[in-house]
């Protein structure tokens, strides 16, 4: 066991009151903001007597739809936190350009001392990729995949809840580092050997490593669940080549997740062994090699890029055909492109460290492999474009987001191809050109996620979002993004390195100021988004959505009611075509309601996943602060809870057929109530029966 040089005692480990940074004005402000918001939420729950509802319907739920929403909530909260980090970084750089720039709040230049600034870029990256983008997409996959394949829930609903709680614990530990201790100053990638104990003696790196470690166990469990669900739970008739494209991308992304996240676990696990048990995996000399860390990290890191981008492409592939009123162009090629990107994702990771010095043949191999990614990606861009050709294209908000995501994809992709050339990479390595490039790529995810949220919002909550303010959000965010990253590309080509707390050249100030201006536009977009949410919730009764609020949607989830009932489909549908809902609309079968109902078996709620989550939070906290007794107690408690659960109780509940009929009658609009199953032409099966092929 490694001895730490600072204070340690057996009860509180490294934790002392002085670890609470109450003398830091910025952290104090953040604390009061978070505390006020927390008190308002807790107060509202108490005042409106919603604690019972909150416990029954949310905290203990194992319904895939509610878990999906909870993932989205965690992702959104973390997205805002990551956005605040971004604002702080941009502001610091614009205030700290050139030797004459003044300093405030104890900083030599700007308002953030380097150690604080370093933690902010570390947390920005970690949060945005692992605790914002990943949960947001996990939310989409959780909510949509069972609906799109005609299932009642996930294959393992209990593990689904557990996966969510572990992800939430990872996010919570990251947030906690704001107020107790500090966060990693070694970047989101954890630059070795900077993350080793002699160079990072504080708890920052431990917060980072345990948050990722616990969160990634959740992501891995979620991946197992979604893969199993798609393979085993498809409705009758839902053959592989009838799967909606979002489901295909979810499958590929989770195969990537399942195979890549364990590598991250090992990479960070070895780092923890170095920090806790005095091993030397990543120290130079003593037989260790810090490039081994970089290698292992990017073996996960590059597939993770596709983990984030593939579901976003899936979302775009659902939105674009809907608002082109045409089927997706080149569906089989799209599927092949998705799968081949999944395969190629495993062969390109060295392009993140071309400058390691591995020689021309190795660099050449990875350069060519990286360029191969452009082929399936290009195929996708052409397929989306050709879907729109000769379609009846309309541009409501989701379509605007999807189309702008294509443009963002092209900019991000092109600059990616530039960076795939080692010679260019040597010049731009560690520069802001790289930052601008990958932000364009992750902006594809942001655009697709906002587009997807607008698109499926009525399915989730039963009312549509306010359209005019949605367009305001769109133009402001796209405009702001364009300003920020065009300026950043220019700075990158000028040679500006990344991660600078102090910018040495005052001549860069005007371009930094343009970036700051873009950030202000982005803040206005956030304001418009809050306004949009407020107006939409206020007018929810006026904007109630039916089963298919867009009128032109194509896949199975639009067949059921909005919001979706607990059992998803009253009777499991029989799938006849690739775009089943569009097919039914074309054949005038979309009003068909079942005449007969059967009892529906559903999993029953349980607080066990939340309890395991709480124990794992305690375990993570204990490991970070080296409170050994708490680590042992929480680990034992976790194992005990798992054992106890296996002994007993009922895991399923039944909704009687009569209740299903009553709920269906309530949910259906009057015009649909009198359309019996007899309207179906002979030889066509639309409901239930048979095995999925």
């Amino acid at each position: 066991m490694t001895e730490v040089q600072q204070h340690w005692d057996p009860i509180f480990g490294r934790l002392t009151l002085s670890q609470v940074p109450y003398d830091n004005l910025i952290v104090c402000f953040a604390f009061f903001f978070a505390a006020t918001l927390g008190l308002v939420i807790l107060g509202a729950l108490t005042y409106y007597r919603k604690w019972g509802y909150f416990w029954r319907e949310w905290l203990t739920t194992i319904d895939h739809k509610r878990i999906g929403i909870m993932y989205a909530v965690v992702g959104t909260v973390m997205l805002f936190r990551g956005f605040v980090d971004a604002i702080m970084m941009r502001t610091q750089q614009v205030m700290a350009a050139g030797p004459a720039s003044p300093g405030y709040l104890g900083a030599e230049h700007g308002y953030l001392p380097p150690y604080h600034y370093d933690q902010i870029y570390g947390s920005h990256g970690t949060i945005m990729l692992i605790f914002a983008a990943t949960p947001l997409l996990a939310g989409f996959m959780n909510f949509l995949v069972p609906l799109q394949i005609g299932a009642r829930d996930m294959a393992f609903p209990y593990i689904n809840a557990l996966a969510f709680w572990l992800t939430a614990v990872g996010a919570a530990l990251t947030m906690l580092s704001l107020f107790v201790g500090d966060f990693s100053h070694a970047g989101w990638v954890g630059l070795a050997p900077l993350t080793e104990l002699p160079y990072s003696p504080d708890v920052g790196v431990d917060y980072w490593s345990w948050a990722i470690q616990i969160g990634s166990v959740g992501t891995t469990l979620g991946a197992v669940n979604i893969i199993t669900t798609i393979i085993k739970m498809r409705a009758p008739g839902m053959t592989w080549m009838r799967l909606p494209l979002f489901t295909w991308t979810s499958l590929t992304t989770n195969v990537i997740g399942l195979t890549a996240f364990p590598v991250l676990g090992v990479a960070i696990g070895l780092l923890s062994l170095d920090r806790y048990f005095d091993t030397h995996f990543y120290t130079t000399g003593m037989g260790g090699n810090f490039m081994l860390y970089t290698d292992l990290f990017w073996i996960w890191g590059h597939p993770e890029v596709y983990f984030i981008i593939l579901p976003s492409w899936g979302i775009m592939s659902e939105i674009i055909p809907t608002f082109s009123q045409k089927k997706l162009f080149g569906y089989p090629v799209m599927v092949a492109a998705t799968l081949s990107i999944g395969c190629i994702s495993w062969t390109v990771w060295l392009h993140h460290f071309f400058t390691m010095g591995a020689g021309p043949i190795v660099n050449g191999f990875y350069s060519v492999a990286t360029m191969l990614v452009a082929i399936p990606t290009g195929v996708k861009v052409f397929d989306w474009a050709l879907t729109m050709v000769r379609g009846r294209v309309t541009f409501p908000t989701p379509m605007l987001w999807a189309v702008s995501a294509i443009f963002m994809q092209i900019i991000g992709g092109w600059t990616g191809m530039m960076l795939a050339i080692p010679a260019i990479n040597y010049m731009t390595h560690n520069g802001v050109f790289v930052i601008a490039h990958f932000h364009c790529v992750v902006m594809v995810t942001v655009f697709a996620v906002i587009g997807g949220t607008t698109f499926w919002f009525p399915k989730v909550f039963g009312f549509t979002l306010h359209e005019t303010s949605g367009k305001w959000v769109f133009w402001l965010l796209v405009g702001g993004t364009f300003i920020v990253f065009t300026a950043m590309f220019i700075l990158g080509l000028t040679g500006m390195p990344r991660r600078l707390a102090y910018v040495p050249y005052a001549s860069w100030w005007p371009i930094l100021a343009i970036e700051e201006l873009g950030v202000f536009v982005d803040i206005a977009a956030l304001g418009a988004f809050i306004y949009q949410m407020w107006v939409s919730i206020r007018d929810r009764e006026l904007n109630k959505a039916g089963r298919d609020p867009w009128g032109t949607s194509r896949s199975l989830e639009w067949m059921t009611h909005s919001p979706v009932p607990a059992y998803n489909f009253a009777v499991i549908p029989h799938v006849n075509a690739r775009d089943e809902w569009a097919w039914r609309r074309d054949y005038r079968l979309h009003h068909v309601m079942p005449n007969e109902f059967k009892d529906i078996e559903l999993p029953v709620n349980t607080p066990v996943p939340m309890f395991i989550g709480i124990c794992s939070a305690a375990f993570g906290f204990a490991m970070i602060w080296r409170i050994w007794w708490l680590a042992i107690v929480s680990l034992v408690a976790m194992i005990a809870i798992v054992c106890l659960r296996s002994f007993g109780g009922s895991t399923g509940t039944t909704i009687p057929a009569d209740e299903v009929r009553r709920l269906e009658r309530l949910a259906a609009r009057p015009s649909m109530r009198s359309r019996p199953e007899t309207a179906i032409p002979e030889g066509v099966v639309v409901l239930g029966g048979g095995d999925a092929r």
Partner: protein, 113 residues
């Protein structure tokens, strides 16, 4: 191969498991890993021999885990699980193989000889 959810014991994959197998799995894998740790700690061999030996031990540990803990074999019940695992083989070859190649080239270029 569909089995009623209310009778988990009749599920063919569940009926494969046994306390003896799990116990053997834990003991064997822990022993193999313990031996590796000991060899490394004591610097028991030359660097190359050590690398070769712990690679073999790691391979054996993997096999022991697959057989005793995951119960993978070529029987009717487990055929698909075993086959699916085979999909990981290319990934293993890619990640371990390419890493070895990269580092071998790197050492030749940047380390002192």
């Amino acid at each position: 191969m569909s089995v009623d959810n209310t009778k988990p014991w009749e599920h063919p994959e569940v009926s494969l498991s046994s306390a003896g197998k799990y116990f053997t799995g834990y003991v064997v894998t822990l022993a193999l890993l313990g031996v590796s740790l000991l060899l490394v700690r004591e610097h028991a061999m030359t660097a190359f021999n050590l690398l070769a030996t712990i690679s073999v031990l790691a391979f054996l540990t993997t096999i022991a885990k697959l057989v005793f803990l995951f119960h993978l074999d070529f029987s009717e019940t487990q055929r698909w699980n075993t086959l699916t695992l085979m999909l990981n083989v290319p990934l293993l070859i890619l990640s371990v193989g390419l890493t070895s190649w990269m580092f071998q080239v790197l050492f030749r270029r940047v380390m002192m000889h």
